[in-house]
Every structure is written in structure tokens, then in C-alpha cells.
Symmetry: C2
Subunit: 212 residues, 2 copies
DNA sequence: TAGATTGTTAATCGATTAACAATC
DNA sequence: TAGATTGTTAATCGATTAACAATC
């Protein structure tokens, strides 16, 4: 393993690099220097070179970076072509929105099952996958061995659910609830999207203004 | 203004403190030390005291912190009881999910209008607010002067839309698109929720494992 | 070759943690 | 008073930026 000391802050920047490069590529730009990319992204050239260098350095002295090549390299690092077998818990509005993100080509994930406790949802098709009642979760996992679970339900009963999912072999969670999976299960990987937290931070900033 | 040198990293932690305190409060816990809160939240006691001290210090030596009081104080800092007049652009699944977050009591925001370019959505009611066609956006803003816009549409045409919204007096954005509002309009406040970025980061982490 | 720009190390900056005096 | 725990300053750690030699 080459990549042993890569900090999470660098990893978190990769998707944004990927998006900007995608845009440059689709505009037919083939070559870019760290300086120009920095200007476009609001970063320093130093940071960009430093970041890319964590993965071995993709540039060429005197030239810069080849856009399509760099784009592909970052995609590979993010394992964008992987198909991590994924289940979605909760088929409400948020669940549906999130399902479409997971089902995007090159998300790195593959939606395999959707579960909801609301009987009325059973059988409905979302992104080509039928919604199953939550009671089928355990059997489905035993049969299909998903590795990732996406949580789009409120926090109540999350302890039982996550304990079960971990027992059934789930290795990573995309968590939209406020339940603290990482605290309860340090052995799994968790990325949480706390919508309410984001909104509250915006509330603070809006009320306290831009420049003080 | 007392609070001039409070870093964004502290602000971002406040909502999580708020959630944990809400939970403690609802469990009838009245008093907590920085040490115990640190254990529950996976932080250091030092950081907790340091964070709270940015706002003046809410504790009492030898005792700790009074939970309901601290909870209220943090809510006040986050302006949780404010009602920032807010419009939502995009009434798809994500828009609907997000509308319910905004409409939660004590979110700090008040949903005033919803807009969508899909004619078929016009007149539908979401969180008590009728969906209007996007063509009515300009007049609505002139009549109602919203301060915050929530963006739940794809990135295409975002330049024109955000230019217009800024011109119409929008001061802050909750942005779910990939368009970089902050780069285009440094004068406004932006909190972005990049779902795809979060998912890609999870892809990297899942593929590269927990402990290396 | 001369000019440009990377890769990479060293310096700086900011955030986190440790320590302890103040005080309830 | 003695014990506990904060508020606050100093030390440490890590991330960002600057600098420059390597090299295309």
C-alpha cells in the first residue's frame, strides 16, 4: 500500500477536483497548470500540487497537468467505476432523491435493495428496484451480502437497525439520520449528511453577517 | 460585537452540541461536565470548554454545565428561533425533503415560497406552501423580499438564476447543486450540501478500508 | 537553451490539546 | 475547607502555504 498517510482533508477535496476537471474536459480544455486551476477553484497552486502529490504526482514539469488524464486518475482513486452493493433504508422523499444519486453511473455504488416500514410502499419501483417491507431486510442481506447501507429514516430505533445491519455484514454507511453510527460502531465506515446541522450553521452565518 | 474571532470550525460543531444536549435534556439530565460530554460525543473535554468559551463560558467551576441552560444558549447563538424568510427553488424529491427540514419549528428559517419550472407542479401544496411556476420568482421576491434561497435543481442555468437572485436581494444560499455560488458571488453566504461529493468520499473510504 | 511549471521540503499558520490557576 | 471542574493560557500537532531545486 503506497497511500498510507493521506489525510481525510485531502480525500474530501478529491470530488471537487473531479467535478472541476469534468467541466474543463467537457469544455475541451486539455492542459492546465496548478496556478490556473487554483484560480478557478479558489485554492492555492501549492495546495493543488501538494494534494495531487499524495497520490504520486500526475503532472509534468514545464507543462502542467493533462486534464483528461488527471480526471481519469482521480476517478480511479475514488473508485468511481466500482459497484459496491448497496441497500437503501427509507423510501420517502429523501430516500428517493438519494436513490437517484446512488444509481447515477460512476457513483461507485450499485443499488441492490430498498426497504421501508410503510406497507403502502411495498412493490413500488424506485430507480428500477422494488421497495420491500423492512421485515425482508434480514433475509435479503443474507442472500445478497450488501456492503453499504444508506439510512434515510428518522433516528428512532436506529440502534436496533444499525446493530442488525452491522451483524449482517454491512461495512459502510451513508447516514442521513441524526443517530451517531460512528460512536456506536467504530468498526464501520460512516459518512453522515446532517441536513439540519448544515441549515443551523447557515442560520448562524446569515444572522451574524459576512464580514465580522 | 463580542464574537469577532470565532472560527468556522467551532460554528460547525455547534449544531452537534445542540443535538446531544437536546437528547440529554429529554432524558432528564440536568448537569454535565465537559469530561462526560466529551466521552459521549467522542471529543476532548478541552475542546468542549474551549468551544463554549468562545461565546463567553456557560459553566460553573466545580459543578459543570447546566444542560437546559446550555441547550438554550446554543439555540440562541444559532438563532434557532429566527424566521429568515426563505424560498425554495426546485420541488422534486430533494426539494420536498428539504422543505420539511426548513419548515421544522426552530430551524431558524421560514419557508415563504416554492418555485419549479415544471408546469405540472404549479399549485401543488408542499408544507402548506403552493408551488409557483419559476416565472413568478422575480415578482414574488420584489413583493416579499426573502433573504435566503434553497437551491434544489441541477447546475444547468444556475449562473442566470443566482445572478438574478442576488440582484433581487438574496443574502444567503443553501445550495444542493454543484454550481459554485460562492465563487461566482463572494458577497453572499453559501452553505453547500454536495451529496455526490459525500458519496464519492465514502466510495474511496470503503474501497480503501478502515485501518491503513 | 531559456522558460515554465512541477515535485518536494521547509516555514507558517491555525486548530486542538494539555496544563493549571481560579473559583464554585 | 476540600474536591471538582471550569476558564484560559501555553504547548503541540497537523494542515496550508511558500520556496526552490529538479526537469520537461
Amino acid at each position: 500500500m503506497e497511500k498510507n498517510n493521506i489525510s481525510i482533508s485531502v480525500i474530501k477535496r478529491l470530488p471537487r477536483y473531479y467535478r472541476f476537471l469534468e467541466n474543463l474536459k467537457s469544455n475541451g480544455i486539455v492542459r492546465i497548470s496548478s496556478k490556473e486551476l487554483a484560480e478557478r477553484m479558489g485554492l492555492t497552486a501549492s495546495q493543488i500540487r501538494h494534494d495531487f502529490n499524495c497520490f504520486g504526482g500526475f503532472g509534468q514539469q514545464g507543462y502542467g497537468y493533462n486534464v483528461p488524464e488527471l480526471y481519469d486518475k482521480i476517478g480511479d482513486i475514488l473508485c468511481i467505476n466500482g459497484e459496491l452493493k448497496t441497500i437503501l433504508i427509507g423510501a420517502g422523499n429523501l430516500g428517493k432523491a438519494v436513490a437517484s444519486k446512488i444509481s447515477t453511473r460512476k457513483s461507485g455504488f450499485k443499488l441492490a435493495g430498498i426497504f421501508d416500514k410503510n406497507e403502502a410502499m411495498s412493490g413500488k419501483i424506485i430507480e428500477g428496484i422494488p421497495v420491500r417491507h423492512i421485515d425482508y431486510l434480514e433475509n435479503f442481506c443474507r442472500d445478497n451480502s450488501p456492503v453499504c447501507a444508506v439510512i434515510c429514516i428518522p433516528s428512532n430505533d436506529m440502534k436496533e437497525l444499525t446493530d442488525l445491519l452491522c451483524k449482517l455484514g454491512i461495512k459502510s454507511f451513508w447516514n442521513f439520520s441524526n443517530y451517531d453510527i460512528a460512536m456506536a460502531h467504530p468498526e464501520v465506515l460512516v459518512r453522515s449528511v446532517h441536513l439540519t446541522d448544515s441549515l443551523m450553521t447557515l442560520s448562524y452565518l446569515t444572522n451574524n453577517g459576512n464580514e465580522e
